[in-house]
Symmetry: C2
Subunit: 341 residues, 2 copies
Amino acid sequence: MRAVRLHSLDGPESLVVEEIAVTEPAAGEVLVRLHAAALNHRDLFITRGLYPKIELPVLPGSDGAGEVAALGSGVDGLAVGDAVLMDPMLGWGDDPEMRSPASTILGMPRAGTFAEYVCVPAANVYRKPEHLSMEEAAAIPLGGATAYRALFTKGRLRSGETVLAPGIGGGVQSFVLLFAKRAGARVVVTSSNDEKLARARSLGADVTVNYSTEGWERQVKAAGPIDLAVDSSGGETIARVLGLLRPGGRIVSYGGTHPTATLKMFPLFWNELSLIGSTMGSPNDFHSMLALWTSDLRPAIDRIYALDEILEAMRRMDEAAQFGKIVLRFPKSVDARHRSS
Amino acid sequence: MRAVRLHSLDGPESLVVEEIAVTEPAAGEVLVRLHAAALNHRDLFITRGLYPKIELPVLPGSDGAGEVAALGSGVDGLAVGDAVLMDPMLGWGDDPEMRSPASTILGMPRAGTFAEYVCVPAANVYRKPEHLSMEEAAAIPLGGATAYRALFTKGRLRSGETVLAPGIGGGVQSFVLLFAKRAGARVVVTSSNDEKLARARSLGADVTVNYSTEGWERQVKAAGPIDLAVDSSGGETIARVLGLLRPGGRIVSYGGTHPTATLKMFPLFWNELSLIGSTMGSPNDFHSMLALWTSDLRPAIDRIYALDEILEAMRRMDEAAQFGKIVLRFPKSVDARHRSS
C-alpha cells in the first residue's frame, strides 16, 4: 500500500510517500481501507520532533474514514465493507476522567491514517454518520473529540451561555463553533483574517471580531459577558481572555503555541475564574461527540489534497491559512492491498 | 458600645478603640452582643486602603459570635439570649454559583464585629455549635466558608484523595487541613516554620515539608501524587504547585500575595490541570461548612486578645506569626449597651 512516512525529524519536507506492506489485523483488530484522512497539528509537530519518544519511521495520521477491509478474530458487529471512522485515542484506560499514562494516539507509535490501510482495535471503530461523505467523516475524529471535551466535559457549557473562540480557523476551533451553536450557545469568534470571520459567520458565529484591529477587546466586551472561552493559543491570549470572562467564567486551554502565560492573580480568585487544561477526548467524549452529527451538521472542510500532495497540505496548516480541516483523499478505484511479502 | 474603628487608611496603627452608639436592628435584622470576634487578612488590607470604595470611618471585622440581644420586626426562630455566630457574606444574590456584584462582606461597608454589638440580617445568623466556645465559634465563619468552598464546591475533593496545603499557618489553611482530614483525604502541608509543621501534625497532617529546605518539591512528590492543592500565595507557588499535581489534578487559589503567576502552558493542557479561583463562600457553602463542626472538631486558635490589644493582634497576623485564628475577646461582665444619644 502507499503510505506517507517520516524517516527523520527534519520537518514536513522529510515526509515521503512510499510503498509498504499492509498489516494484517490481529485478534480484536479491524483493518480499514481508508478513503480519506485528515491533518492535525500533531502530525506537523511530530515531523519536527516535538513529541517525546518518537520512534522512526513514523506513519503519521490520526484521522481517517473508510470501509472495513478485514476483521481480526473475535470481532463482532462489523462486516467487511461497512463504512467507518476511527477514534484515534488508544488505551485510554479505566479512569473516565483522565487518560492512562500508557495511552497513545493513532499515528505514532501505532501506524496512522496517512496510508491506504490502517489497522486499529475494534473498540475504536465507529459507523460513519450516513449523511457525511468519507472526506467529512475523516475530518471529525481528533478535532471533534478535542472540541467536545473542551466545551462540554471540561467547560460544562450550558445552553444560553456565550462562548468565545479566539483564533477561529483551525480544525478544533471550527468544531468549537459548530458544537457550541448546536448546544444553544451564543458564539463570539476572533481572527486576524476577515475572510475567516466571514466563513465563521456563515457557520453560525453570532459575533466576529478582527483582533488585529484597535480595541478588539472592547468589541468582545460589547458582545456581552463571556461564560466560556476555548483557546489553543496560550500566552498573552490566555491573560487577555481571562480579563474578558464574566465573574465565575472559565477558559479551557487545549493547546499553547506560546509556552508560558502570565496571569494576574487577583481577578482570577476574586472573580472565581477557572483555567482548565484539556486535550483529546475519552471514549465517552468520542461517543457523545459522534452523536452530535445529525443530518444538518457538517464539518468545515478547508481543502482536499491527494496523498502525493502531503507536503502542500502540511504547509497550508503550518501557515495557518486554512479554515476548518485539511483532508487527504485516496483514490477509490485502485485496489492497493497488495502485500510486499 | 466600644468599637474598633478606622478613620484613615494608614495601616493598622490608625485603628482606634472608641465609644459609639449601638445600631438598633431594622426589620429583618438581629442585634448580636458579641462575646468574641476574629481577625482576617481582609481587615488588615482595609486598613491599608487595599479595597475599592472604602468609606470612612470603617468598623471592621467579619467574624464574630455572641448572643442575640434584640430582634428587628419580622424575625422568627430566634430569641434574645440565643448563642449565635454570623455568616459574613451579605447579599449573595440569586445565582448559587456566583455572588452578586452587589454582595459585600460584614465589616465594610456594613459595620463589623470589632465591637461589642453588631447588627446583621436574620438570614445570616446561625446557632453556635454547642460544643464550641464563643472564641472558637467566632474563629470559623469567613475562614471556614472560604476553606469549604475552595475544597469542596470548587475543588470537588473526594475521600481518599491527597490534598496539598502550601503555607500552613493562616486561618484558612488551618481549616483546609481540618476539613480535608474530616473528608477522608490525606493532607500534605508546607511551611518554612518547623513549629507550625509540628502543630499541623498534631491536627492530623499526614506529611509535613519545610519549604525552606533544599529539595522540598521532591519531598512533596515523594508523598505521592497531589490531587488537589489549595493555595493563597499565588505567584511562584502556583507555578511550582502545578508541577506537583497528578495528571487531571487541580489547584484552587483563594488569594494571592504575589500579583502575578507565570504558568507553563504545555503541562497545563497536556496533563489536564485546572487552576480555579475561589473566594469567600455562598450561603450554601456556609450552611454545609457549619455542619462539619460535630463534637470532635475544634478550630485552631492561635491567640486571644482583648479589644484594646487590636494593634498587637493585627501585627501578629501581619507578620504571619500565627497558627490558626487570632481572636478578640470581649468582657462578658459589662453591659456595654448604653446609647450615646
